[in-house]
C-alpha cells in the first residue's frame, strides 16, 4: 500500500491520458481536414475507412514507416533531440489539466503557471531544429518562430492575469470552481480577445503562421525533417492547440461546469467546450490571410500589450473598489 499503489495509479492515469491525447490529436488533424474541406466545398479524406475515418491511422503508419532522413551537414544529436524537445513539453502540460472535477493526473498549486512555463520550453525544440538542420530556410523559420512565440508568450501571460485576479488562485481546479456562477469570459472579454489572439500566434496558426509560411519559407523550421520526427512536430503543434483551447475553456468558459440544469457529466461539458474552441481555430484557418512579419509584431506590441495592461488595471480597480 502507500507509495507503490499511488505510483501505479499515477502511471495508469498518465498512460490513459497520453494514449487518449495522442489519439485525439491524431483525429484533430482529421477533423481539421474535414472541416476545412467542407468550408471549401470539397470532401476531404474519403478513401481510408468510412468517410476517411481511418485516415489519421494510415497517416501515422505511413509516417512511421517512412525513411528517416538526417541531412549530412546537420548536427546529428541536436537534430534528433529537437523533435523530442518539442513534443515532451506539449504532452507534459496535460498532467495538470482538469478534465473534470475528479479526473486529472495531478493538482499543482501553480497549475496555470506550470502550463505557461512548460509550454515555453517548446520554443527550444524549434530553435534547435532550425539550427541543427543547417539549412537557411530552417534557420530563418526557427528565428521567426522563436521571436513570435517569445513576444506572444508575454501577451498570453498578461492576458490570463485578469481571470487569475478574479479567481484568486493559480490552481486550475479552483479557477474552474470560481466560475460556478458566471464564466469569466463575461467579466473579462478584453482578456479573452487578447488571449485568443496570442494563442493563435503561440501555436503558429493562421493568420500568424509566418514561421511555416509555405509561400515564403517552404516549411520553416521543419523543412528538413521526415518520417516520425516530422510527425512529432506535427503532433506537438496539435497538442498545443488542445492545450491552449483547454486553458481558454478553463479560464474563461468555466471548464467542466455545465450550463443551467442540463444534466451532463462534467467531462462531456469539457469535451463540448473544447470542441467548440478547436472548431474556431480551424474556422479561422480557413478564413483569414496571413499577416506580414512587421505587422505581427506591431499588432502585438502596439495593440495587444496596451490592451492587456489596461485590462489588468481595470480589473484591479474594480476589485479594489467593489469587492
Amino acid at each position: 500500500m502507500g507509495i507503490a499503489v499511488e505510483a501505479v495509479i499515477a502511471l495508469v492515469k498518465i498512460a490513459v491520458v497520453l494514449g487518449v491525447v495522442s489519439l485525439v490529436v491524431a483525429y484533430l488533424t482529421y477533423l481539421e481536414r474535414k472541416i476545412i474541406a467542407h468550408i471549401q466545398q470539397r470532401l476531404g479524406p474519403m478513401r481510408v475507412g468510412w468517410h476517411g475515418l481511418l485516415q489519421p491511422i494510415a497517416d501515422g503508419a505511413k509516417l512511421f514507416l517512412k525513411e528517416d532522413i538526417i541531412p549530412d551537414k546537420a548536427d546529428k544529436v541536436v537534430f534528433v533531440i529537437a523533435p523530442i524537445m518539442v513534443l515532451v513539453p506539449a504532452f507534459v502540460v496535460y498532467s495538470v489539466l482538469p478534465f473534470s472535477s475528479t479526473f486529472y493526473i495531478t493538482q499543482v498549486n501553480i497549475g496555470i503557471f506550470f502550463i505557461l512555463a512548460v509550454s515555453s520550453l517548446g520554443v527550444f525544440g524549434i530553435v534547435m531544429a532550425g539550427w541543427a538542420s543547417n539549412s537557411k530556410y530552417s534557420l530563418l523559420g526557427a528565428l521567426r518562430s522563436a521571436a513570435q512565440m517569445l513576444s506572444y508568450e508575454i501577451f498570453l501571460g498578461f492576458s490570463i492575469i485578469g481571470p487569475l485576479m478574479l479567481a484568486g488562485s493559480l490552481n486550475m481546479q479552483k479557477i474552474v470552481e470560481a466560475q460556478s456562477d458566471v464564466w469569466f469570459v463575461f467579466y473579462q472579454p478584453l482578456a479573452f480577445v487578447v488571449f485568443f489572439i496570442a494563442a493563435l500566434a503561440e501555436t503558429n496558426r493562421v493568420p500568424f503562421d509566418l514561421p511555416e509560411a509555405e509561400t515564403e519559407l517552404v516549411a520553416g523550421f521543419h523543412t528538413e525533417y521526415s518520417g516520425m520526427k516530422f510527425a512529432f512536430f506535427f503532433l506537438a503543434e496539435y497538442a498545443s492547440i488542445m492545450v491552449v483551447s483547454t486553458v481558454a475553456v478553463t479560464l474563461f468558459f468555466g471548464g467542466w461546469q455545465g450550463i443551467g440544469w442540463i444534466p451532463l457529466p462534467g467531462f462531456v461539458w469539457y469535451v463540448l467546450k473544447l470542441g467548440a474552441m478547436i472548431f474556431v481555430f480551424i474556422w479561422i484557418r480557413a478564413t483569414l490571410p496571413r499577416y506580414r512579419y512587421d505587422q505581427l509584431m506591431r499588432l502585438g506590441w502596439k495593440f495587444m500589450f496596451p490592451l492587456v495592461m489596461a485590462n489588468i488595471f481595470l480589473t484591479g480597480l474594480v476589485k479594489f473598489l467593489f469587492l
Binding site: 493562421v206 490571410p289 506580414r292
Partner: protein, 380 residues
C-alpha cells in the same frame, strides 16, 4: 533557396557591429513565383534595396518558330504563350493576321470570339485571384476560385474539345459553330458567377488583414506606370482608364456595353479591385453576347493557300494581363518573315523593380502576385 550570406556574422573587431546586405534568391522553384521565375533581392534588413529578375527558363523560341511555319500552323503555338488564357492569345494572332489580309469576318464569329475571349479573361483572373490569395495566406479563396475555373474549362471543352490549350479560332472565323449546349451552359454560368464573385469579396475585400497586406503596397503612379509601359490591370489600377477593348475595339466589342474599372492609388489592393470588377464586367459582356448572338456563318471564305501581301501590321488586344499584340512582317510568302509577340507579362514584370523597391520581403510575394504574370508568354 534563401541565401543568407555571411550577413549574420558579427565581427568582433569592429566597434559598431556592421550590418551587411543580404542577398535572397527566390526561385526558380519557389512556391510563390508562379512558375520558373527567379527573383534576386538585395536586402537591408527586411527592406528591398535592389531587385533583379532572372527570366527565360521557359524560352522556347516561339518567335523563331513563327518565322518558319505558315500562318495557320502558328495558331496552336499561341495557345502555349499565355496558357492561362489561351483563347485570348489565339484571338490576338488571328485578328492580327486578318488585319494583314483585310478579311471581313462574319458577325457570329466575332460574337463567339468575344464570348470565348471573355471566358478566358474570367479563367485567367480566377487563377490569378486564387494564387494571389494563397500567396497572402487565404487558402479558401484558392479552392473556391478553382471551382468556378473548372466550370469555365468545362465550357471550353464543350465548344472546342480541349480545356487548356484550346486552339479556339481559325483564320477567317471559327473551325465550326459552337454547340447549343455550350451556349446554354454559358448562360447558366453567367447567371451564377456574379454571386460567386460576391463570395470571394466577402472573404477578402473588407478583411483587415487583407487590407493591411495589400493597401499601400507596391504603389506606382500613373505617370510611372505609363513610362514603364505597364498595361492592363496594373495601368488601370493606377488610374489610367485605358482598355484596348474600348480604345481600339476589335471583334464584337464595339457593339457591347461595359465599364472599364480603374483604381486610384495604384497599389496591390487597387489592382485587386480592378480585376474583381473586370470579372463582373466580363460576365456582363457574356450576357450581352449571348443575348445579341446573330445567326449566320462562322467563317469567311478562306483561300486554300494563305499568302498575304507583303507588308507589316501590328495588332494588339486586351489580354487579361495587358496589351497582347503581334507585329507581323510579311514578305508575301506562305510563312511570315518576322513574328513579334508583344508580351504583357514580360513588359509588366519589367516594372517589378520599381514596385518592389523600398518594400519588405513579404511584400514582394504580394507584388509578384498582383502583376499577374504567366511565364509561358513572358519567356516565349
Amino acid at each position: 533557396m534563401f541565401e543568407v550570406e555571411s550577413s549574420t556574422r558579427v565581427e568582433r573587431s569592429s566597434v559598431v557591429p556592421g550590418t551587411e546586405e543580404l542577398i535572397i534568391n527566390m526561385g526558380p522553384q519557389h512556391p510563390s513565383t508562379h512558375g520558373v521565375l527567379r527573383v534576386i533581392l538585395r536586402l537591408d534588413g527586411e527592406t528591398v534595396k535592389d531587385c533583379d529578375c532572372d527570366i527565360g527558363f521557359l524560352h522556347r523560341g516561339t518567335e523563331k518558330i513563327g518565322e518558319n511555319i505558315t500562318y495557320t500552323m502558328f495558331i496552336p503555338y499561341t495557345d502555349r504563350l499565355d496558357y492561362i488564357a489561351a483563347p485570348s492569345s489565339n484571338l490576338a494572332w488571328v485578328t492580327a493576321v486578318e488585319k494583314l489580309f483585310g478579311w471581313e469576318i462574319p458577325m457570329r464569329a466575332h460574337y463567339i470570339r468575344t464570348l470565348v475571349a471573355e471566358f478566358s479573361r474570367i479563367s485567367s483572373h480566377l487563377l490569378w485571384l486564387a494564387t494571389h490569395a494563397l500567396d497572402i495566406g487565404a487558402m479558401t479563396v484558392f479552392l473556391w476560385c478553382f471551382r468556378e475555373r473548372e466550370m469555365v474549362l468545362d465550357l471550353f471543352e464543350h465548344a472546342f474539345g480541349a480545356r487548356l490549350t484550346v486552339n479556339a479560332f481559325r483564320l477567317g472565323g471559327l473551325f465550326q459553330d459552337v454547340p447549343q449546349k455550350f451556349l446554354d451552359l454559358s448562360q447558366e454560368f453567367a447567371d451564377l458567377f456574379p454571386g460567386r464573385i460576391g463570395d470571394y469579396e466577402t472573404l477578402l475585400t473588407d478583411n483587415r488583414i487583407w487590407l493591411q497586406r495589400t493597401r499601400g503596397v507596391g504603389v506606382i503612379s500613373a505617370d510611372d506606370a505609363i513610362d514603364l509601359s505597364l498595361t492592363g490591370p496594373i495601368l488601370r489600377g493606377s488610374g489610367v482608364r485605358w482598355d484596348i477593348r474600348r480604345a481600339q475595339p476589335y471583334a464584337a466589342y464595339p457593339y457591347l456595353d461595359f465599364v472599364v474599372p480603374v483604381g486610384e492609388n495604384g497599389d496591390v489592393y487597387d489592382r485587386y479591385l480592378v480585376r474583381i470588377e473586370e470579372m463582373r464586367q466580363s460576365t456582363r459582356i457574356i450576357q450581352q453576347c449571348l443575348a445579341q448572338l446573330p445567326k449566320g456563318p462562322v467563317s469567311c471564305k478562306v483561300p486554300r493557300t494563305i499568302k498575304p501581301p507583303a507588308g507589316e501590321v501590328y495588332h494588339s488586344i486586351e489580354n487579361p494581363k495587358g496589351e497582347f499584340g503581334f507585329y507581323i512582317v510579311s514578305d508575301g510568302s506562305e510563312t511570315p518573315y518576322r513574328v513579334r509577340i508583344r508580351p504583357p507579362s514580360f513588359v509588366n514584370l519589367g516594372g517589378l523593380k520599381k514596385l518592389a523597391l523600398g518594400g519588405l520581403v513579404a511584400d514582394v510575394v504580394a507584388i509578384i502576385g498582383s502583376i499577374d504574370i504567366v511565364l509561358g508568354e513572358c519567356d516565349r
